[in-house]
C-alpha cells in the first residue's frame, strides 16, 4: 500500500547545522495489519507518519500510496485522502470541547446524518462507551474515554489506513491495553500505523519499524 523511497526531512534548512528528522530511507508497508513505528523522542517517527498522511511534505523522496506519489498531489486531493481514506488519532485527542462525544465522532463522518449518527454510536459502543456517555462533553469524560472517542472519530468512515500517534500516551495500562486491542482488531482488514515509544503496546504487531536519529535501525516482521 505504501512505498516510501529515499524519504528525508530536513528542519532548519537555512541554517548551517541542518536537522535531519528523516535521513533518507526506503520502506514498504503492507495493505493491512498493525504496523508499529517505534523509537525514542526525536527519532522522526511522528514526522514519518505526517509525511505518509499528507500532513507534511518530505524535503526529498516520495511516498507512494496505492501506486501514486502523494507528495506531488494537489491540496484538494490531499484533503480527499485525509477525509475518505485516512483516519487520525493524534497524541492529544483534539476533541471539540463544546460537542458531545457522539457529535465529536460525527464531525468526521460522511453521508446522511442519520446513518452517520448510527455509525458513530455503533463505533462508540464497540469502543466500550456506554449510551449514557454519548451526550457527555469531553470535559465530563475521562482521558481514556476521550481517547476512545478520538479513535471512533478516526474509524467513522472505515478508512483504509488509521494513523495513530502515541494513542496510549495519556492512558493507564488497562485503558492502553483496551485501545490497542481495538486497533489490533481493526487492523485485521485495514492498515493501522501506530507511532509510539512504548514497545510493550506493540505486542502482536504484524510489523515493527524501529527508528533512530531519523533512520531505520531495524524492521521486524511477524
Amino acid at each position: 500500500m505504501f512505498k516510501i523511497k529515499n524519504i528525508s526531512m530536513i528542519y532548519d534548512m537555512n541554517t548551517d547545522e541542518k536537522l535531519y528528522a528523516l535521513g533518507g530511507f526506503d520502506l514498504d508497508l503492507p495493505d493491512k495489519g498493525l504496523v508499529g513505528v517505534i523509537g525514542p523522542s526525536g527519532s522522526g517517527k511522528s514526522t514519518l507518519m505526517y509525511c505518509m498522511s499528507t500532513l507534511k511534505d518530505p524535503t526529498e523522496g516520495s511516498v507512494e500510496y496505492n501506486g501514486k506519489d502523494i507528495t506531488k498531489i494537489s491540496g484538494s486531493e490531499r484533503e480527499h485522502l485525509r477525509r475518505r481514506e485516512f483516519g487520525f488519532v493524534f497524541q492529544k485527542h483534539y476533541l471539540v470541547p463544546y460537542m458531545s462525544a457522539v457529535d465529536n465522532v460525527m464531525v468526521a463522518g460522511l453521508g446522511k446524518e442519520s446513518e452517520v449518527r448510527a455509525k458513530a454510536e455503533e463505533c462508540l459502543r464497540k469502543l466500550g462507551l456506554k449510551d449514557r456517555e454519548f451526550k457527555k462533553k469531553p470535559a465530563k469524560l475521562s482521558g481514556g474515554q476521550c481517547q476512545r472517542v478520538a479513535i471512533a472519530r478516526a474509524m467513522i468512515n472505515d478508512p483504509k489506513v488509521v494513523f495513530a500517534d502515541e494513542p496510549t500516551a495519556s492512558l493507564d495500562h488497562v485503558n492502553a491495553f483496551n485501545v490497542m486491542k481495538i486497533l489490533r482488531e481493526y487492523s485485521k482488514d485495514r492498515l493501522v500505523i501506530v507511532v509510539t515509544h512504548d514497545r510493550s503496546i506493540l505486542e502482536g504487531a504484524d510489523m515493527t519499524v524501529e527508528l533512530w536519529d531519523g533512520n531505520i535501525s531495524k524492521i521486524t516482521v511477524a
Partner: protein, 385 residues
C-alpha cells in the same frame, strides 16, 4: 463532499456567548431605532406646524425704510409714529385687497411652545381685537369645542393638541409674558395645527407684526408685497412659507446629523466589542479549526462554517433587534408621544434599512478577525511539532 461543519452545533452548545453577542446586536439596533423615533418625532411634529402655519398666516416686521418713513423728517416722536401707523394701515388695506388675503392688521403676538420629547418648538400667534377673534378662527378653519371665545382683554383659546401637549385646563394661566402679565385660557378649539388665538392686554412685552391672513396660494410675503408694489429690504423680517421651509430643512438636516452621529457612535462601540469578542472566541477555537483542516476539511468549508455562525449571530441580532425596536417604538408612541399630542410612527423604513446596512458593514469588519484566524489555521502536525 458533504460537510458536517454545522454552525448550529456551535450556536446550540454556546448559548451564553452567542446569546451575549446576539443581544449586543439587538440592543444596538433598538437603541439606534428608538433614538431615531424620538428625534424624528420632533421633526414630524414640527413639520405639521411649519407646513400648515404659513398656509393660514404670515407675519411681517417691516422696516421704516421700506415703508418710506425717515425719523429725521419729523420734529416729534408722535408725528413720526403717526406717519408710520398711517403707512402700515395703508399697507394692510392694500394687502387686504389682494384676492387670497382675508385680512391684514398690525397687532401684538405671543409665543406659544410645543413640547417635543427632545427640545421644544416655539412660534407666535396673534393677539387680535375682540371683534376679530371670530373671523380669525374662521380663517383658520378652527372650531371652538369647549369653553367660550375671549370676551375681554388677555383671554385666549388654545388648540386641543396644544392643551394636551402643555397639560393645560380651561381657567389656567397662560403666562408667557416676561412682565408677569398672564393670559387666561377660556376655551379649547380644534385648529389645523397646534396654535392659540387671543386678545391683547396693555403693557406687555409682546412683539408687534403685520399679520396677514392669507390662503395657501399666497403664503410668500415677498410675492404678496410685490403685488402691492413694495420691494422688501434686508432690514425687513418676515415669517412665511419660505422661511418655514428653510427652517424645516435646517431642522431636518440637524436632526439627521444627530441621528447619524449617534448611530455611528453606537455602531463603532458595537463593532469594537463584537470584534474583540470574536477575536477571543476564535483564538479559543483555533485547535478545533486545525483539527478540521487535519481530518480533510478544506479551508473554504471551515470559512463557510465561520460565516454561517456569524450570520446566525448577526441575523438573530437583527430579528431580535427589529422586534424589540418595534415594541419600544409602539410603547414610545402610545406612552410618551400621543399623551403629548406629538406625532410619531412605529415603522421607519429608512432608518431600518440604515441599521441593516450598518450591520452588513459590521459583518464586513468582522472579516478581519475571521481572516486573521484563517491565516493561523494549520494542520495538527504543526501544532505538535
Amino acid at each position: 463532499m458533504s460537510s458536517r461543519l454545522s454552525a448550529l452545533k456551535f450556536v446550540a452548545n454556546n448559548k451564553k456567548s452567542v446569546g451575549t453577542m446576539l443581544l449586543a446586536f439587538a440592543i444596538s439596533f433598538m437603541t439606534i431605532y428608538l433614538i431615531y423615533s424620538i428625534v424624528i418625532c420632533t421633526v414630524i411634529s414640527d413639520e405639521v406646524i411649519t407646513d400648515r402655519f404659513p398656509r393660514y398666516t404670515t407675519y411681517l416686521d417691516i422696516s421704516d425704510k421700506t415703508l418710506g418713513v425717515d425719523r429725521n423728517d419729523y420734529d416729534s416722536g408722535d408725528d413720526y409714529a403717526q406717519a408710520l401707523a398711517e403707512k402700515r394701515d395703508k399697507l394692510c388695506e392694500d394687502l387686504k385687497a389682494i384676492d387670497g388675503v382675508d385680512d391684514a392688521y398690525y397687532t401684538q403676538v405671543l409665543m406659544t411652545k410645543y413640547q417635543a420629547i427632545l427640545g421644544m418648538i416655539g412660534y407666535e400667534f396673534p393677539l387680535v381685537d375682540l371683534d376679530k377673534v371670530e373671523p380669525y378662527l374662521e380663517h383658520l378653519d378652527a372650531e371652538l369645542i369647549e369653553g367660550r371665545l375671549p370676551e375681554g382683554d388677555g383671554e385666549i383659546v388654545v388648540d386641543d393638541v396644544l392643551m394636551k401637549n402643555q397639560g393645560y385646563k380651561i381657567g389656567d394661566w397662560y403666562d408667557e409674558d416676561a412682565y408677569g402679565k398672564t393670559f387666561t385660557i377660556v376655551g379649547v378649539m380644534d385648529a389645523p395645527y397646534p396654535t392659540c388665538a387671543g386678545t391683547p392686554m396693555g403693557g406687555t412685552n409682546s412683539g408687534w407684526y403685520i399679520v396677514i391672513l392669507n390662503d395657501s396660494e399666497h403664503a410668500y410675503v415677498e410675492e404678496l408685497l410685490g403685488e402691492v408694489g413694495i420691494e422688501l429690504s434686508p432690514e425687513d423680517e418676515y415669517y412665511d412659507k419660505s422661511t418655514y421651509d428653510d427652517a424645516m430643512d435646517e431642522i431636518s438636516g440637524i436632526m439627521d446629523g444627530v441621528v447619524l452621529a449617534i448611530m455611528a457612535v453606537v455602531m463603532i462601540f458595537t463593532a469594537l466589542s463584537v470584534i474583540i469578542a470574536y477575536i477571543s472566541l476564535m483564538r479559543n477555537r483555533i485547535n478545533e479549526y486545525c483539527l478540521y483542516a487535519s481530518i480533510g476539511y478544506s479551508r473554504s468549508e471551515v470559512y463557510g462554517m465561520m460565516m454561517r455562525e456569524m450570520m446566525i449571530v448577526i441575523g438573530g441580532g437583527l430579528v431580535l433587534g427589529a422586534g424589540l425596536s418595534l415594541l419600544g417604538s409602539y410603547l414610545l408612541k402610545t406612552c410618551a408621544m400621543e399623551p403629548l399630542g406629538l406625532i410619531g410612527y412605529i415603522w421607519y423604513g429608512k432608518q431600518f434599512l440604515r441599521i441593516v446596512a450598518a450591520f452588513v458593514m459590521i459583518m464586513g469588519v468582522l472579516q478581519i478577525p475571521v481572516l486573521i484566524t484563517m491565516s493561523r489555521i494549520k494542520t495538527i502536525d504543526a501544532i505538535e511539532d
